[in-house]
Symmetry: C2
Subunit: 332 residues, 2 copies
């Protein structure tokens, strides 16, 4: 076996990462899955070469060190994270994005915007406990000057090109630059990390299967990843605002393409809501099939993602997550 070539969205690329891992270093998959759900075993050495060719402008999986896994028996998503999981090379070709349905461009593009914002707003790496050795450094280290460069550029591109990419399949400039933004954001969040919206997204995608997303194959209901993360982003960033007001304002300005007339705690949530509405995102988690009765189970699922919540700029407890999820029922 010489190596792997993956062609597809984040699921296809992540599947190839895991296949590469368990053929290069055979062991049951769950041993490698992040704790507390899996054993957290580190890959003992580099994997076989993996060339990743994304066909969505979204996950940045071609650039990240993580593979996300759906664990249907546990009704939860988790991941395997290690720098050896990063594909050896990627090819980001705008032509491959030409036939994507608008809804897929919307969801994957909002994923880019959301994880770039989460990365940029993550707890600064130098305020976290210093690892004993470089090998003990977690894959998600918190915001840092190198990740910031990529996250900021992806946010700028998201503000400039996502609406155009959704509106017009033939706008290859916009679709291609969203593909580039996805790869850039992947480099950024692959080192800085994501936190509250992604922690909430795992149970939102895993707990119920009641939502049939427009524009996707109609053979099974599911919540597209980008829409599962963005729905709680306005409330999550309203909650984290007080930890880093300047940075929240900067994210809003990058998305808006310039200075805000009246920057405040609601600037970023409002800027995100406007973008979500313009690109046809679901209005909130109610539209995805959840009611307030489901919130305790969603909170329980989110709290399992301690690896993610550890890089949130402000620690959310059960009550905070309950508030964020309730506030995300309908965003407009």
């Amino acid at each position: 076996m010489d190596g792997f070539v993956s062609v597809g969205g984040g699921s296809a690329i992540d599947t190839a990462k895991v296949a590469d891992l368990i053929t290069s270093h055979p062991a049951p998959v769950m041993e490698y899955v992040n704790p507390p759900i899996g054993g957290g075993r580190k890959p003992p050495g580099p994997l076989a070469p993996h060339l990743a060719i994304p066909t969505t402008g979204g996950t940045g999986a071609e650039a990240t060190t993580v593979a996300v896994l759906d664990l249907p028996d546990l009704k939860v998503k988790s991941g395997i994270s290690h720098r050896y999981m990063r594909p050896s090379q990627g090819i980001v070709d705008p032509e491959l994005l030409r036939t994507l349905p608008a809804e897929v461009v919307s969801s994957t593009g909002l994923d880019v915007v959301c994880h770039a914002a989460e990365s940029y707003l993550s707890r600064p790496y130098d305020t976290r406990p210093r690892p004993a050795t470089p090998d003990d450094r977690p894959p998600y280290q918190g915001s840092n000057p190198v990740a910031d460069v990529w996250s900021a550029k992806a946010l700028e591109y998201g503000g400039l090109y996502l609406r155009r990419a959704v509106e017009d399949a033939d706008d290859l400039e916009a679709r291609g630059l969203m593909g580039l933004a996805a790869a850039m954001a992947g480099v950024g969040f692959g080192s800085a990390g994501v936190h509250i919206p992604h922690a909430c997204a795992y149970p939102i995608a895993g707990l119920k299967h009641a939502y049939q997303p427009p524009g996707y194959p109609d053979d099974h209901p599911f919540v597209p990843h980008g829409h599962s993360v963005i729905v709680t982003a306005p409330a999550a960033f309203r909650f984290t605002y007080e930890a880093a007001p300047e940075r929240h304002r900067h994210v809003a300005e990058l998305l808006a393409g310039g200075p805000l007339s009246d920057p405040g705690p609601d600037s970023l949530p409002d800027t995100l809501r406007a973008l979500m509405r313009d690109v046809g995102a679901p209005t909130g988690i109610a539209e995805l099939g959840y009611s307030e009765d489901d919130v305790p189970a969603l909170v329980e699922g989110a709290l399992k993602q301690q690896r993610l919540l550890a890089v949130a700029p402000r620690d959310p407890d059960e009550r905070d997550l309950t508030h964020i999820l309730n506030a995300s029922m309908r965003n407009w």
Copy 2:
């Protein structure tokens, strides 16, 4: 032989690159040197691992795919360029910059600023002839969206931190961020490329050995690399302005830290001259030992650097280079 560790400035790191090349793939060095001076042979495969630890905030050699060589018999500098020349890893540690003399911080920092500006202003990659295969792509491809991100960030850091880094050896924030800027700019120019100031710098450093730089060991006269490139930058960017006025204005704004009151063709040259003066750069090539009688020989040397001049945004002929060098005798 398991690999190489280099500790030092660009010369030390580049020496390790070449040692790695000729021990990994034995052949006379000149076979690998860039044409027309050398044979332009490509390394046939990856080199042994190389860990580069820079002790100046300047060359970015830890991040670039090129090794620069002084060829004293030919009185010229040239290089070996290939992606396999890039060190496997780098460690950029602010503590290593604490004891650098101010003049070395000035020269290496101006090198960062100059090659970041040259990269950002280089001919866009998609206006150059398309290579037949990826392997035929030249190491210096011209400006592109990924290199731009790094070049712009390095310029911003240069504007914010170079004066502070020169003034105060204990300002480790400023010195550390100039070290980071150097690595970032190295990634940028390692893919985009440098052009007129670097092409002129090669003969400026190689032709005469009359300048004894303050702050450097006094055992032999030479022109520090950063000062050899920056002295022609104001005139070079005045010449290239008309090819991309918006981009020249943007470079000036990045260095100045904000919008310019009256942007025009002299904004970038003036911004550079102010920075050079503040950090104690030589006033021009006259101070380095050259007179107008030397200009034809300098032009001849610069014209040998066709690999560099090919990425200039505006093609300079012999007359243009003569004008640039004469205008660079004294910058203020």
